[in-house]
């Protein structure tokens, strides 16, 4: 291979990546439409289209189903998938650990615990609207757990396995604490808590969507701005620092983003597992680890998997809407195992 051939191969690779990203984005749109059309009363895709773009062609009940129920669900699936997957991708890089994700390392459990605490104790802060206490407390607990993980990951003696084991310990600890809270909770609080621990899109509202959407839109540009530094960090911490990157500061900023993404997601839909693990892995296998591609692509693959899981949650048991968290685990685990066991040839 001479220089010109290498340039040509590079141009082909870039083209291939663009095509892959566009294809995933298109698949997201298809999954999104399918998600709206499936449910207790199946709607043909033509009605989905009309519901979104030509409301005068539909009856009032059909329009209400699409606009008030299906659309918020489907949008929530896309947003949560994108948020958790982006959080997972960043986490895998800054902790230098392919098994890191908000779910596997206990960040989601911590957020669940924070939310449970807020629900049961019903505490409030001055100047903070009551509706915000649950997500806010979820965020604080998530951030706390992320800080602990980071402190541990920074100790050289801990090693990669140590961080994962500590994360698993966090999962068990917070799950036990949530179970404890459930045990002493009132009947009303209990039903809310169960919703958390299962993970479901059923409580998607336009207000929730607006908050999560705002978090994703605010966080993403900062993630993208750190993309080059993250790519460098994959080549080793010493190397990244010798490029002039303040690794500590970058890690801290990234952890803030991860907490915001994971905690807001968990605050609105409960614990949804494996998206933050599977999304980035699919993106990495398809596109490599140049984070300028990896981060946006992770969001897209996460959104796609989540959207498909949402469709499956309505179809798997006819007449029943399964909590989507159950489905993501059911799809996520085999996909993940397949990814680990079969490493395909790459260009």
């Amino acid at each position: 291979m001479d220089r010109q051939e290498a340039f040509a191969a590079y141009a082909r690779l870039m083209r291939r990546r663009s095509i892959i990203v566009i294809t995933i984005a298109l698949l997201c749109v298809v999954a999104f439409a399918l998600d709206i059309s499936t449910g207790p009363s199946a709607l043909p895709l033509s009605n989905v289209w009309a519901g979104l773009f030509a409301p005068e062609r539909l009856s009032a009940p059909e329009l209400a189903i699409i606009r008030q129920v299906r659309l918020p669900y489907a949008l929530m699936a896309i947003l949560v998938g994108a948020a958790l997957s982006l959080a997972g991708a960043e986490m895998q890089t800054i902790l230098n650990n392919p098994l890191a994700s908000p779910f596997t390392l206990g960040v989601s459990s911590a957020a669940s615990f924070g939310a449970a605490l807020a629900i049961v104790l019903g505490f409030s802060l001055p100047f903070v609207p009551a509706d915000w206490m649950v997500p806010l407390n979820a965020f604080l607990c998530a951030f706390g757990s992320v800080l602990m993980l980071e402190a541990l990951a920074r100790r050289r003696a801990t090693g990669v396995e140590g961080v994962v084991l500590f994360g698993i310990a966090l999962v068990f600890t917070f799950n036990a604490l949530v179970a404890l809270i459930q045990y002493v909770a009132s009947q009303e609080a209990l039903s809310q808590l169960v919703f958390w621990s299962m993970g479901s899109l059923a409580r998607a509202t336009w207000a929730n969507l607006a908050v999560l959407g705002a978090v994703v839109v605010l966080v993403f540009p900062f993630s993208l701005a750190a993309a080059n530094a993250m790519t460098a960090l994959r080549l080793g911490e010493d190397r990244a620092r010798s490029f002039g990157i303040d690794v500590e500061r970058m890690r801290f900023a990234s952890l803030l983003r991860i907490s915001a993404l994971a905690a807001t997601s968990v605050a609105f839909v409960g614990t949804i597992g494996f998206i933050g693990l599977v999304g980035p892995h699919i993106a990495r296998l398809l596109l490599g680890e140049d984070h300028r591609f990896l981060l946006p692509a992770s969001m897209l693959t996460g959104a796609l998997v989540m959207s498909l899981a949402s469709v499956a949650s309505k179809l798997l048991v006819p007449g029943t809407l399964l909590p989507v968290g159950i489905v993501t685990s059911m799809i996520g685990v085999p996909v993940f195992l397949a990814l680990i066991l079969r490493r395909p040839e790459r260009v």
Binding site: R3, A6, L13, T231, A232, L235, G236, R239, F243
Partner: protein, 261 residues
């Protein structure tokens, strides 16, 4: 063409209570020189390089021309000094070309910001000179140890530093590439005035290609000078604790360590 000399005075560095580099002073290294760092394991060579690179806190002075490097921020440091660690991680889904362009994108490079096309051009040129054009589009996880070392070197050279610090850059290379790398680094140093400090274990190679040799033992300088002066029987015997015999044959240094070399 860079014109500043590198000078180190009273430099100490260590880990916690354990001092690894003891008040080291290295008289001015003029621009364009290739200096080899030699010595047994744990003599403080890597710590010295990392301290010069600003990755490790130390006491004392490291001056490049009039600039005191120890007072510079990490980013300003990175503009002048490039450090190449011993290893490049294996399990990374990046091609060799991306490894080099990624370094250029992530680091402040002397002069203006480069455009995408310039970054690509510069990366390819270095990869070409190092002699691994055929591997440009190969992912790191498919390279041998030696190939990864060449990718790592390309990455370091592409940043065009004034001071290049190489930690055992040829340890995994075959004979062809050992010579090629030494020749290339020597040539670039002469062309640009870049100062090169490299940790080497092969005394013959150090003797043949270096302008100056620094021999370390237990964090102190045991010898400093032109290869023929610094590398001598007494110093080697003392530093490596083996019987050593150094002879000058036809203008080349012949080194015999306990009958091994």
């Amino acid at each position: 063409m860079f014109t500043e000399a590198l000078q180190i005075e009273g430099l100490s560095a260590g880990y916690g209570a354990r001092t690894v580099v003891h008040g080291l002073s290295i008289p001015a290294i003029p621009p364009g020189q290739l200096v080899s760092l030699i010595g047994p394991n744990a003599a403080g060579k890597t710590t010295l390089l990392r301290t010069i690179a600003g990755l490790h806190a130390g006491e004392g002075s490291v001056r490049l021309g009039a600039r005191e490097l120890t007072k510079l921020s990490l980013a300003d440091h990175a503009r002048l000094v490039t450090y190449m660690p011993q290893s490049l991680p294996q399990q990374v889904a990046l091609t060799v070309l991306e490894t080099v362009t990624g370094a250029l994108r992530a680091s402040p490079v002397e002069g203006a910001r480069l455009s995408d096309a310039e970054i690509l051009e510069r990366a390819m040129e270095v990869i070409d000179r190092v002699g691994i054009t055929g591997l440009a589009m190969t992912q790191l996880d498919r390279l041998s140890g030696g190939q990864r070392q060449l990718a790592s070197l390309s990455q370091a050279l592409a940043r065009g530093p004034r001071v290049l610090l190489l930690d055992e850059p040829i340890s995994a290379l075959d004979l062809h590439f050992q010579l090629r790398v030494m020749k290339l680094v020597h040539q670039i140093a002469r062309e640009t005035g870049m100062i090169v400090l490299m940790v080497l274990h092969d005394l013959e190679i150090a003797a043949r290609w270096s302008d100056r040799v620094l021999i370390f033992a237990e964090g102190r300088l045991a010898a400093d000078g032109a290869p023929a002066e610094a590398i001598n029987s007494a110093v080697l015997a003392d530093v490596y604790r083996v019987a050593a015999e150094v002879k000058l044959v036809d203008g080349r240094l012949r080194i015999d360590l306990d009958g091994i070399l």
